[in-house]
Amino acid sequence: MADSQNPSHTSGFPYRHLLGIEGLSPSEIGALLDKSEIFVEHNRKMDKKLDTLHGRTIVNLFFENSTRTLTSFELAGKRLGADVINMAVETSSVRKGETLIDTAMTLNAMQPDVLIVRHDQSGAVKLLAEKVDCAVINAGDGQHEHPTQAILDALTIRRRKGRLEGLRIALCGDVAHSRVARSNIHLLVTMGAEVRVVAPLTLLPTGIENFGVEVFTDMKAGLKDCDIVMMLRLQLERMESNFFPSVREYFHFYGLDYDKLSVAKPDALIMHPGPTNRGVEIDSLVADDFSRSVIREQVEMGVAVRMAVLEILSANLHSEKRLRNL
């Protein structure tokens, strides 16, 4: 990580990479959120093009399929004026036996400024970050972290509710295999929210109660008086591993419908990182209820958050280089 003593960092976020939320302070998270706010307003203008990152090269290196996260990062980079290249797994040499580190070294030699990496292995993005000179953003690594998702979720909540502290927030569903859940738990607990996790015991990871959350296995008990209901995507292949017996049974007990939602606060918001499995973890009517669901707003916030992160990390990288040359 970059040294936080460096006086040239004015953003309040003094790191070279964004690999995870765990370990960030409330003020560092706040700095990312404040910066993102500026871009939310900007993105609603007709002319969205800036030249802040003119001349910079950003590489989207995705070892795992993604549509929305990839598009969101690409758009964020382009709106800031950077050159953005997308490298998909299928065409890369990783399939030909090249190791992750080989790929990192090769890309590094091309002098990118920011690498945005998604990988299906926990810790893979950190491993890659150790081998390159540029800034690295974790766009999701295995079951570990997905930091920009947590920041965009927090931004969505903060704009709607005016705060994070003191809100009662329930994360529901496959917590065990979810990087979104881990990043969100770290962020929301750090910011002083009252965080609950609601899932069948088979989908709760060992020791989760030590993360500062309250654990529920009953949806209605968990959603009681919540300000925010955050649903997690259920990987259907988990069914084959006996984490739950059937979609029907899962939806019956853990799918979000109006009945279960009725115990939450009347103005409770519904969130989902997408893409949703309608009729599996969330009822279609609930997902599309614009008075309650902010799922599309989350997507909008995503671009703003990624612009903020790109701008801050690029500035940090620039100041580091300048300092090194002195």
Binding site: Q121, S122, G123, L127, D141, Q143, E145, R182, T206
Partner: protein, 444 residues
């Protein structure tokens, strides 16, 4: 290490008589701990004791002044993966021999998971011959308990034992099928042989990369529950009870398993076990942020389990300590954690990490040495690990207090994947003697 010298005498030059004087003799088997001397004649120990050469060494005998260093039987390491034949880029019989002798080890038993696996007389003989030619540490093989280590059909245990296999194991794999284990125990009993089990229920460990628990959850890594160990051990205890066979559990790592073994021993069953240094010196926190050198099999456990392993060593439930040496090349370890190979090198750290048990006041110096000399040798039926007149002159001189830092890149082992990289330790082998010949000496 610049100050290490190997003097493997590969030629059959005749050995005379050598007196090792001014040593602190430590022999766990007899309880000897006294200032004294050892006399070797040819390849054997001719005499030793506190009173030997009290009146000076007669002329015609070469004299080596041990300068007060400890002289103990050469270490006997009963769980080593060598990688030759088949994966010589990770380790060879010669590199293992150099690493072992630098660590004071004179005898190793290697696992059968080479390529080809040790399931054939010719491979048993290959390993024995190559070890002999290297002139370094002695190597005895375990042979496969089942064909292709698949856990389905028994290997030719009788013939392999005749060829020199000391016991039978499927190496890093558990013999998972209860019926196969039952038959293996009975058939081995027929020849008076021991089965060595990697105790881990595979249907529970499958897909896991580290100990299940809060640390695994934080890192987003799939966990291996600690119970995977005790479940297999409790089943096997029942099978031993049923068959009357002899079973040895390798690298025991959990509190529950130790408790189960203690109860089985109290019932008089022919069950023994060992552990490896990582399981009493490290815990799952050593993984930090995805340190693959700390990825082991079984995985590093919780602090509570680590403490139980120390206690098991103290009360004797755990009979022995073996290095569990598992060399891997960089390409096998520089990977995302779940994809990285499990295992760590351990030959050069066996002595200093075992000595932590002594320095931390858990065991006496003799008790500590017993776990890595006489006891493991007896478990596997080897004539080694003790000072004995007429026995092969396999011993080592060591300084139990010498402080140094383990630096993975400085290890003599060809593979550098030590889970102890960076650790400050105490105790080092100064000179290693095998069959009367000094094969390793550390200058200074």
């Amino acid at each position: 290490m610049d100050d290490a010298v190997w003097t493997a005498a590969k030629t059959g030059e005749p050995l005379g008589r050598v007196a090792y004087v001014n040593a602190r003799l430590l022999d766990p088997a007899s309880g000897l701990d006294a200032k004294g001397a050892v006399l070797t004649e040819g390849e054997s120990i001719a005499d030793f004791g506190a009173d030997l050469f009290k009146g000076g060494v007669p002329s015609g005998i070469e004299t080596i002044d041990c300068q007060g260093l400890c002289l103990a039987p050469g270490l006997v390491d009963i769980r080593v993966q060598i990688r030759e034949p088949g994966e010589e880029h990770k380790g060879t019989i010669e590199s293992a021999g150099m690493s072992a002798t630098a660590g004071g080890i004179t005898t190793m038993i290697c696992l059968p998971n080479t390529k080809p696996i040790i399931a054939d007389m010719s491979v048993v003989e290959f390993v024995a011959r190559r070890a002999r030619l290297s002139g370094l540490a002695k190597i005895y093989p375990y042979a496969a308990a089942t064909k292709n280590l698949e856990g389905k059909e028994l290997a030719e245990m009788g013939i392999l034992a005749e060829a020199g296999a000391v016991a039978f194991t499927d190496g890093e794999r558990a013999i998972a099928d209860a019926q196969v284990m039952r038959r293996a125990l009975i058939y081995a009993k027929n020849f008076g042989l021991t089965i060595v089990q990697h105790p881990e229920e595979p249907s529970l460990s499958r897909g896991g990369g580290m100990n299940a628990g809060e640390v695994a959850t934080r890192l987003g890594l799939s966990g291996i529950p600690a119970a995977a160990e005790v479940i297999m051990i409790e089943r096997d205890i029942r099978l031993v009870e049923m068959t009357g066979g002899r079973l040895h559990f390798a690298h025991v790592s959990t509190a529950a398993a130790i408790e189960a073994i203690a109860k089985a021993k109290a019932r008089g069953l022919a069950i023994t076990c060992d552990t490896a240094p990582p399981y009493f010196a490290l815990n799952e926190n050593s993984i930090g942020e995805y340190r693959t050198f700390a990825k082991l099999s079984p995985p590093l456990r919780s602090e509570k389990d680590r403490v139980a392993v120390v206690q098991g060593l103290k009360d004797g439930t755990i009979d022995a300590v073996a290095s569990d040496h598992a060399p891997h090349d960089e390409d096998s370890k520089r990977l995302p954690f779940m994809q990285a190979a499990a295992g760590g090198v351990g030959l050069e750290t066996l002595l200093p990490i075992a000595l932590e048990l002594f320095h931390n006041g858990h065991l006496s110096l003799l008790q500590t040495l017993a776990k890595i000399t006489d006891v493991p040798a007896r478990l596997m039926g080897l004539r080694a690990g003790r000072l004995e007149k007429g026995a092969p002159a396999d011993f080592m001189l060591f300084d139990p207090d010498y402080a140094w830092q383990v630096i993975a890149d400085d290890l003599i082992s060809k593979a550098k994947n030590s889970p102890f990289d960076g650790r400050l330790v105490q105790g080092i082998a100064r000179q290693t003697v095998i069959d009367g010949r000094t094969v390793f000496r550390r200058k200074g």
